[in-house]
Amino acid sequence: MRSSSFISLLGLALMLRPCAAAEFKPEATSSSTIPATMNRVYVADPALPHMVDGRVYVLDASDLSLKGMLEAGFAGMMVAAPDKHRVYVATTFYERLTRGKRTDVIQVFDDQTLKVIDEIPILTRRAQALGYRSLFQRSSDGRLLFIQNATPATSVSIVDPDSKRQLEAPAPGCFGIYPALSTPLRFSTLCGDGTVGTYTITANLRSADRKVSGKLFDAGADPLFIHAEHDQDSYIFLSFKGKLLRASLEGERATAIETLDIIPADATGWAPGGYQPFAVDAKAKIAYILMHSDDKDGAHKNPSAEIWSYDIGNKRLLARSPAANLTSLTLSAVDPTVLFAINPVDQKIERLTIDATGKVSRSADIKLGETAALVEAPR
């Protein structure tokens, strides 16, 4: 018997149809879509207790209500392309859920229907890592995608999502991808010897030339977080001990511009921490940093006790605001007075508001996710 056999019942069932038809109009069901104009917050949750089933939650930035989700599979990575109304999710599938042939792809989601509209096969070497922003990036013109690989030997896959052409650039000893802000065919990476490698790709995706900077940081004494932000023309990195390194990644070789120490003398023991430990307002040149006290070796992922607002242009600490239990922070791309954060302790996503003095306070939250680590508000 197939379900088609139910056809024999059709006449009978019409007879049995509930009456009171005059006053009652049966409802219809349908599928929702997300308005193009809605400002979005994406929360990437690898769902560690069930890693095969990671997801990216889509929230309305105005009230943090949940609007939908994207399948992120096993240790998936996401990057939004608001200009194209797409969200890219790089992930791994196995033939039998947890075993069998490994297939790595970039799933291309429409950001209104949340359906997969394309799939780009990639090398089965992508880093199956926590979804740090710098592990999956777009070129400044949005034409290329950059994916961090690790086998554990490291390289970067450069992918054209339209032509599906790809190039693998070896990047031994280096990790994290930082696309040049003005040169679409260029990106940099942080290396364990304290240098920065900068890659310039040929337009035909045939090869990438690598140039190494001088030593820009000390990966032993004061490592840089691999999460980075940028202002309008330079990248901003943050060290475990609370130094901001402003660097230009625009040329063939990276160069340091300046180093700023955000920790005043009266705040010994405070340090930044988390998976996405700071956000930068590119225009105002203000950094918002997740800070904890009683720092020690191994505390660099600790949840926050405060958010510090640091004025990069004027090199001064603007404000310290209480903000417990946050490990990831991002600034809204459309409203520089709004931050979004992940609170993994209470399993909440929070919305924070910045006042004119740089003070930060919570304005909304939603209970969501299990082990979320990356939050983005790109449109």
Partner: protein
């Protein structure tokens, strides 16, 4: 009350099933004819299957009259709903979240609306093709029966007849007023 409707539907279901058993060899390929006329008889209940161009409308209607309780398992429509509420997952009480499609077949509950005092037939459509939502798990079982009365059974994935059969969440759609006789 509604038991009478359910019983009659069930008896019809059983008869159809018996028929189908006898001629199961010839029964393939008729589904398209059935859905072509805009109705699907499913698990013993008749559900309107509306063209998708009405979907937006239905959703907009729902959004304009928000119900304060629709995120709670105690909301009256959920009396036989076993699953995740789509209203917690980006959809509404009757609309699937983005990317998920309503199930083609459903189970049916009969729930009492305390506001107008009437009993309604509720179609519990699973929303299909996206990973399980995981929020607002409810487990109502009024009128629920084991799988030998499939049309009122809720311990099964009602996305089973969809091309993409992954379960995401469940909506509650009013499809009739129950016969009081």
């Amino acid at each position: 009350m509604s038991d009478i409707i359910i019983d009659r539907l069930m008896a019809a279901f059983d008869r159809a099933a018996e028929l189908a058993f006898r001629r199961s060899a010839q029964s393939i390929g008729r589904r398209s004819a059935l859905s072509g006329i805009g109705k699907l008889l499913v698990g013993g209940a008749l559900l309107p299957v509306l063209p998708f161009d009405r979907s937006g409308q239905a959703h907009a209607q729902g959004a304009s009259k928000p119900d304060a309780n629709e995120a709670s398992c105690d909301y009256w429509r959920y009396c036989a709903l076993d699953g995740f509420l789509c209203s917690c997952c980006g959809g509404s009480v009757s609309s699937c979240p983005p990317g998920a499609e309503p199930s083609k077949v459903t189970w049916v509950g009969t729930c009492h609306n305390p506001v107008d005092g009437k009993d309604y037939l509720v179609s519990y459509n699973d929303c299909c093709g996206k990973t399980t939502c995981g929020r607002c798990l409810c487990n109502g079982n009024v009128g629920e029966r084991p799988g030998y009365r499939m049309g009122v059974h809720n311990d099964i994935n009602w996305c089973m007849a969809n091309t993409q059969s992954m379960y995401h969440c469940t909506v509650s759609v009013l499809v009739g007023v129950a016969d009081k006789k």
